[in-house]
Amino acid sequence: MEEHRMVIGLPQGLLYYRYGALWQTFFNELGIETVLSGPTDRRIMDAGAALSIDEACLSLKIFLGHVAALAGRCDYVLVPRVSSFGRHRNMCTRFEALPDLTGNVFRGKGVKVLSYEVDVLSRKGEEAAFLSMAGGLGRSLREVHRAYRQAKKEDQARRKAAVRAEEQLYKSEGIKVLIAAHSYVVEDPYIGRAVTGYLKKSGVIPIRADVVDRDEALKWSQDISLTCKWEMSREIVGSVAMHEHKVDGIILLSAFPCGPDAMVNELISRRVRDVPMLNLVLDSQSGTAGVETRLESFVDIIRFKEGKL
């Protein structure tokens, strides 16, 4: 009988957009097969919405849709708990609750959760977290350690390249709009890329605030807030402070209802005053008319200002 090879499912929502490369290389290095849930589409979003309570944010709904898409296609679905990276460096509570939440939503529905926990405030670093998966994966600590190191290297190289490419965009000719949004919003093929796609079609260069040198951004974030406690928001805030004078407009793009964004976007709009700014909230409405009207008029305002309309 052929030995069963373990397959890990990676849901393409939320932290996938932060750790996807890390996860994939890690499992590849261990010779463990991974399967992706596929790009977000209407079906995934609707399935996730049906599994969620109303109060969940759109991105969490989409995430649950991705988990559902993996049911029956893998042995485990990877859902880490990432809660903090240090003082004033917390994650939104959704990320703390995610493994429990997923486990409960899919109880008895053929989804087993594989998890690891990063909580630096409680002395649980990322490396130790990955090592803790060794037993569950049936691999030795040494193997897992080597795979993690390799994955980390690969992840850092990729991120560096992405940041370099994004920084180049600030130097390009044309109308540049900075999109301040969580990676899982702006990069989502169904919700976020509808926005960046529309901008590109209108001849505008969208630049992502979330693709930034994270250490540098954390430093700059203090220009806008000393106490903002959410790590990913802090990176975006810092990126806005770094780049506000290099762009023609800023779009604060948020998935409804996002707790951290509700506060942080307000903060940004109060502190950054001399750049046209658009506050755009996405929800599960299928009509794009409202979004298009807002984007079109925002681009018009920028063109007006430059006398190009």
């Binding site: 209407r42 169904y190 506050n279 008319a289 009207t293 008029s297 018009d300 305002i301 007006f304 309309l309």
Partner: protein, 316 residues
Amino acid sequence: MEEAYLGIDVGSISTKGVIIGRDNDILAGEYIWTQGDPIGAVKELLRRLEGQFDKGRYQIVATGTTGSARKLVGAIVGATMVKNEITAHAVGTTTFHPDVRTILEIGGQDSKIILVENGVAVDYAMNTLCAAGTGAFLSSQAKRLGIEVEEIGAYALRSEHPTPIAARCTVFAESDLVHKIQMGHPREDIIAGVCNAVVANYLSNVGKGKKILSPVVFQGGVSKNEGVVAAFERTLGCKVIVDPNGHLMGALGVAILARKGSGRQKFDFAVENMEFRTREASCGGCSNNCEIICVYRGDKLIDSWGNRCERGAKVR
């Protein structure tokens, strides 16, 4: 023949149209209710505009559409310019009030603020998910108080002690208002309080964090309400200009944009008598199932939209 330009603004509540000449002179203007039938409203609008218009002297050479039904109506009338209502309002207002600094607009279901510097729009905001303080709120409260929405202004101006009404949220405003009625506050004071609430609500939601500089121009259906105008003047501490053609400003703006644009297409009033229908189709090309709207003139498909990718093109 002299050249003329047609601008049509189809909003959720009302449909507006103008025909202008080369110097932005208004040759015809009309304002009617949309009543949930944008195609029917536009046909009626065109009929009325045609009646006011000297077809022997002028020829419409470019047409613009704006408002929430701009795409649909643009397809039907063969528009050379389809623009969002914010841009249209900014262009219209700055043309007729070149020194304007702030444009306030409250319509049937949404409200906006546009900031202008040297005749150029530099910033704007629009109500987000909440329709608090828009025309729809005023008309429902008028109904509750048993008066016509057109009478609100006159009532409000008679009040000397406007009743304070919670302004943050329409739902709270409404329950507060009911409470105040039952407490015995005079109707005039309550109505003036509602007008104040609309203004307070607008300034704390849409106008939040924006520097409102004079001259201020106020537009949209609600600008016809003197009570709200007075409340704005009191709160802002400056004069608020209401243009007699304020209700046509979006249509004027898009007519001007059509005039300035490069597209030219002679307009034929025969559209009034043509049969248009729309059909919604589900693409089915992938699991997004995009809702595609197809517009037909008679049996001929003239336009379609709503698909996220090229696959949808096949459906039509």
